[in-house]
Amino acid sequence: MEVLINDFSPGLFVVQTILLLGLIFLLVKFAWKPILTSLNERESGIEDALLAAENARKEMQNLQADNEKLLKEARAEREAMLKEAREIKNKMISDSKEQAKVEGDKMIRQAQSAIESEKKAALADIKNQVAELSVEIAEKVLKEQLSNKTEQLKLVENLLGDVKLN
């Protein structure tokens, strides 16, 4: 302790105090203040930039989500439209099928009835012609056969015989 006190130089203490005071003052004014200010500015600048980047990223994400949503909606809409179109098509096809069937049936029926009536007419015609022909033939045959008296008698006899059988 005594050595410490003996070594203590009051003059050096005073000089050191003055020099240190001056050094602190000058350094704070010309070095530390500008350095710390610009360091802080730079750090807050970096922080702001990072924040801005983060915000931009979020915005980008939002945009992407929006896009995706829109795309999904569009896809759904397309799907719905396609479905509707398909349904309409199917309906149209089935409708026209039905209509065609009805129409066809109708035509078939008409044709059938026409055929029937034609047939009937033709049959009636044929019948008439056959009757006329057979009458003519019978007339001719009768004329031929009943040209003599015996034959006529024989026929009468036959006819009479038939009557008897009835």
């Binding site: 070594d7 003059g11 050191q16 105090t17 020099l19 704070v28 070095a31 500008p34 350095i35 360091l39």
Partner: protein
């Protein structure tokens, strides 16, 4: 001799001017180096003073004395000594101005007037007083006496110590480091006006500044107040660190090993935390809340002693003792070369000395940083304790105090 000093001062102070006007071109640092070397070497020739009674330092006692001499401040800048062909002891260095406050007022002369005498044999008569230098201290002889006389413990009896404001070796070191710091850090500050990120040497300095701010100032003082004190902490940190490193160079500076210097530093910290202490700080010192009333005055005495004596004293002695011890150990290990020459031979003693002093010097480089860090760190901690907000919560406040007290106790060890 005054002329030489003025030339020396010119060479030192011209540096910033050169930087401003002439050294815009390439390789400014090389020119600085040349100027610095010139400013040192140009004085070598002037101070060669024959000293017949001294030989080279070789015995154990001489080594002890040499180390004791080295860790003290010096009034001249001594670079090395040698013995010339005629057997004369020559000292190479340059004198520094001696400024004294004697009984007859201010006296100034160059230290070369003592002719490198440190035993109180050369008497300098100036301004009506007689001065002698004995063991790096300057004494004023009582009027009428012509010789310094001593008591049994080698204390001068017929002379008084004078207030010594000399530009001693330590003051030169402080000035050098101060100018270096001003130059280096103001150039770093100027860089920021031009670019966001500094280049060159500024790129080395910037992380150090950020380190002090983010690792020492901000965590210990707190986000709210740290900005105000960071300037002081940065100054002290770099001041101590550079001076510690300068002490490891062979120029023989031992500035942070001067108790007056560390005392001034510690008192700066004391003043700062005393005057920036808030209401809670003083309340916790003078009238500790949350303890019985009877204990409060006892605690107040302890706390006052802690705040005004123990804290600055620990700061002062820690730095002083560490740096002085480092110097003593390094020099003792170098001295192995002489002291063990007889038992180990020249080669063995030299090799042992080289290896040991090399590793100790490496450790000392670490210690140089560590002591600067610890001093700054503790200053920040003490300031932080003074400005901390205690949030009014008693339980929390008590815990806080326990923590602080424990921390402080750890720091004193």
């Amino acid at each position: 001799m005054g002329k030489h000093f003025i030339r020396y001062l010119c060479a030192t102070f011209k540096e910033p001017l050169f930087e401003r006007f002439a050294m815009r071109k390439a390789m400014p640092s090389l020119r600085y180096l040349i100027i610095f070397l010139l400013s040192i070497t140009c004085f070598q020739g002037f101070s060669n003073v024959p000293q017949e009674e001294e030989g080279p330092v070789s015995s154990k006692e001489e080594v002890d004395e040499y180390i004791q001499h080295h860790i003290k401040d010096a009034h001249d800048f001594h670079l090395f000594s040698y013995t010339n062909d005629a057997g004369e002891r020559k000292h190479v260095g340059f004198p520094l101005p001696v400024i004294l406050w004697s009984s007859n007022g201010m006296v100034a002369f160059m230290s070369s007037e003592f002719h490198y005498d440190d035993e109180g044999e050369v008497i300098v008569e100036k301004g009506g007083s007689s001065f002698v230098k004995y063991h790096t201290k300057i004494y004023e002889l009582q009027s009428g006496t012509k010789n310094l006389s001593f008591d049994e413990e080698h204390h001068p009896t017929n002379a008084t110590r004078v207030l010594d404001f000399s530009i001693t070796q330590s003051v030169v070191g402080i000035l050098l480091v101060g100018l270096l710091m001003l130059w280096v850090f103001s150039s770093l500050a100027r860089q920021y006006t031009k670019r966001k990120v500094p280049k060159g040497f500024g790129r080395v300095l910037e992380p150090l500044v950020i380190y002090v701010r983010d690792e020492i100032s901000r965590p210990n003082i707190g986000e709210k107040h740290y900005r105000k004190f960071t300037g002081y902490l940065l100054t002290v940190f770099f001041f101590i660190w550079i001076l510690n490193l300068l002490g490891l160079t062979p120029f023989g500076f031992n500035v942070t090993g001067q108790i007056a210097v560390t005392a001034a530093l510690a008192i700066f910290t004391l003043i700062i935390y005393t005057f920036s202490g808030n209401k809670e700080y003083w309340q916790h010192i003078l009238w500790m809340p949350g303890v019985p009333y009877l204990i409060r005055p006892v605690l107040a005495i302890i706390e006052l002693a802690g705040a005004f004596l123990i804290k600055p004293f620990s700061l002062m002695v820690r730095l002083f003792a560490n740096i002085s011890a480092g110097h003593i150990v390094v020099m003792s290990l170098i001295a192995i070369m002489f002291t063990l020459k007889a038992s180990l031979g020249v080669v063995g003693a030299t090799a042992l000395s080289l290896i040991l002093s090399f590793f100790i010097t490496l450790i000392e480089v670490l210690v140089a940083f560590l002591q600067a860090y610890i001093f700054t760190m503790l200053s920040a901690l003490f300031i932080g304790m003074a400005v901390a907000d205690h949030h009014g919560d008693h339980v929390f406040g008590e815990n806080d105090d326990v923590d602080d007290a424990e921390e402080a106790r750890e720091n004193f060890i």
